[in-house]
């Protein structure tokens, strides 16, 4: 705790040892029980934490994709009104790189997470976990990253090897040397 907050807490008589675990300095809010917040607690992490129970196959995903995704992303994920989801492998140094799930995304869990929270565009958060696994499996299959008979679940999804997994670097900025660091007075 920052010193000023601790002082505030002491000044208003809260935060003594008896309250240390049960209440913060200001005593606002109510406890967030896991069952209370379950519908919002939806993120999936690269190591698989947060992935729900369930599973889905490439074949199931193909049916769902045709019905719910293809009209914007193209029937093979090649892109249409919405961006391409497949292709572009090896294009990242090209003049016009194509950044897709297969060519660019470093984690397969990100695909599941984004579909679960944001897709389909006309009905976000409407897919059941099995459907999200299935659509994710199909998109990974379209990128050649899963065989046609594959099935994904919370154990299998984080293990999908993403081609650009090691393609990201930390922020090196400032990365450009200063030119003319000081203003030259104008000649008069």
């Amino acid at each position: 705790m920052r010193p000023e907050l601790l002082l505030t807490a002491l000044a208003i008589g809260l935060g003594g040892p008896a309250h240390a675990q049960s209440q913060g300095p200001f005593g606002v809010g109510r406890p967030a029980a896991p069952e209370t917040i379950a519908a919002w607690d939806i993120e999936a992490r690269p190591d698989g934490r947060g992935l729900p129970p369930g599973s889905g196959s490439v074949r199931e995903g193909a049916v769902l994709f045709a019905a719910r995704c293809a009209s914007c992303h193209g029937d093979r994920g090649q892109g249409a009104a919405a961006e391409a989801l497949a292709g572009g492998t090896g294009s990242l140094t090209d003049a016009k790189p194509l950044r897709t799930v297969g060519s660019y995304w470093p984690y397969a869990t990100t695909l599941f997470d984004y579909v679960r929270r944001a897709m389909p565009f006309d009905a976000p958060q409407s897919l059941a976990p099995d459907e999200v696994y299935a659509v994710s499996a199909y998109v990974l299959h379209l990128n050649g990253l899963l065989p046609g008979d594959a099935r994904l679940d919370a154990v299998a999804l984080p293990k999908v090897a993403m081609p650009n997994r090691d393609g990201f670097t930390a922020d090196p900025r400032p990365d450009v040397a200063a030119e003319g660091a000081a203003a030259r007075p104008p000649a008069r």
Binding site: R2, L5, G24, E43, T109, Y114, F121, A178, E179, P185
Partner: protein, 406 residues
């Protein structure tokens, strides 16, 4: 040029619009002044919520035609604004899944993960907590496209994804103390309540460096497009991190690797690698007057006016060139010069009537100098999409017309 911008500029420049006297209200230059109708009768009462004068029609518009109606960014008319603060209705906004109609009474903020006391808070809870009010700029990291520059760009087209406001709310540090961060905590997932549940990972040190859970902007509650009723505000960092319609903060040990910090908001380099978690908005400046689409009304005195900002503290200087960079002259910085806030600069200029090329170059308190486009492109190429803070030029033609010129 949009007519409202031109009208505003002409007014700024002290001119009158051709035809403005058609109402009979304005005297022709040189004619004897009359006593107009508005002086001869009582005026009206003020509306409950004031509006700009009828002829003042500054407006945002989408920078690009949106591929999807729910994923748009609209740009601030910097060429028509004065000082450093952006009126709330003109503050730029970017949304990825439309602007949700959030009921503030039903809205909740969940704080959980690696904390001692996971909490669900109402807006009333947040309004009870100690508050801060601070002036900061907000800039989209996609502001100023790397490619596709057009001579016809206005500064609204080229730089309109920056704005500046006074933000009021609870310091994120206050709330983190309330829930008690556990050892091992290093990143926080921030998540919105919009239709894409917009989500980004925030490093804990950034969360403790002046971040605000903001519920008010320039004195009034947030506008819907700014995240009503609650947004995160991270001073000096790329705008997408300042999650709007904030519904959840989850404290974790590592980045969550959301779509917006992997597929998007990463900077692709010429060698095919991409920089990730490029948060800070580096020093940048732009001349807002004269600027693209405007026209100087004639030789003589003109004040060069512009804005400078940096995500790394304060601006300490802005140099201006009127000859394409051969000579640079320090502009006057108008106070207050605040950290991670827009700073207005001004330079008196006498236009002799010939071609001119106007440039501005900001310096911040770390010693960083706003780079040229050539220097940036030499390192980053032109496909990194985000974080273009290059020096930006306007050419003035012999007839006074102002256009973008690299």
């Amino acid at each position: 040029m949009r007519s409202e911008n031109r009208r505003a500029f002409l007014r700024l420049a002290g001119g009158t619009l051709a035809g403005a006297g058609a109402t009979g209200a304005l005297a022709r230059d040189g004619a004897p002044l009359d006593v107009p109708a508005w002086t001869r009768e009582q005026g009206v009462n003020a509306p409950g919520y004031g509006r700009p004068a009828p002829g003042e029609t500054l407006a945002r518009y989408p920078r690009l035609p949106p591929a999807f109606p729910g994923a748009t960014s609209t740009v601030t008319p910097l060429q028509g604004l004065h000082g450093i603060l952006t009126p709330n209705g003109l503050h730029f906004e970017r949304h990825h899944a439309g602007i949700p109609a959030v009921d503030p009474d039903r809205h909740r903020l969940v704080v959980h993960g690696l904390v001692e006391r996971p909490l669900v808070l109402t807006m009333d809870d947040l309004l009870r907590l100690p508050a801060v009010s601070r002036l900061h700029f907000l800039e989209c990291s996609g502001n100023t496209p790397w490619v596709g520059a057009k001579a016809g760009w206005t500064v609204q087209d080229s730089h309109g994804l920056i704005s500046c406001a006074e933000w009021t709310g609870v310091e994120l540090a206050t709330l983190l103390a309330e829930v008690g961060v556990k050892p091992g905590a290093a990143w926080i997932l921030a998540e919105g309540a919009d239709a894409c549940a917009m989500s980004r990972s925030i490093p804990l040190d950034a969360a403790l460096d002046g971040a605000i859970l903001a519920y008010a902007q320039n004195g009034e509650r947030l506008r819907p497009e700014q995240g009503y009723p609650l947004r995160l505000f991270l001073p000096g960092l790329e705008g997408n991190l300042s999650i709007k319609w904030l519904r959840r903060l989850k404290v974790g040990d590592r980045p969550f690797q959301t779509r917006e910090e992997t597929s998007k908001y990463t900077d692709l380099m010429p060698d095919g690698t991409a920089r990730q978690f490029t948060f800070v908005m580096e020093a940048k400046s732009v001349i807002t007057s004269p600027s693209g689409g405007q026209a100087l009304r004639g030789p003589g005195f003109h004040e060069i006016r512009g804005l400078a900002w940096t995500g790394r503290g304060r601006i300490v200087g802005v140099d201006v060139s009127t000859d394409g960079g051969a000579r640079w002259e320090p502009a006057r910085l108008e106070g207050p010069v605040l950290p991670r806030c827009l700073t207005r600069f001004r330079l008196p200029w006498r236009w002799e009537g010939g071609p001119a090329k106007l440039l501005s170059r900001a310096r911040d308190e770390t010693g960083y100098v706003q780079p040229s486009r050539e220097a940036l492109v030499a390192v980053r190429g032109t496909r990194s999409y985000y974080h273009n803070n290059a020096v930006f030029g306007w050419s003035v033609a012999a007839d006074g017309a102002v256009r973008h010129a690299a």
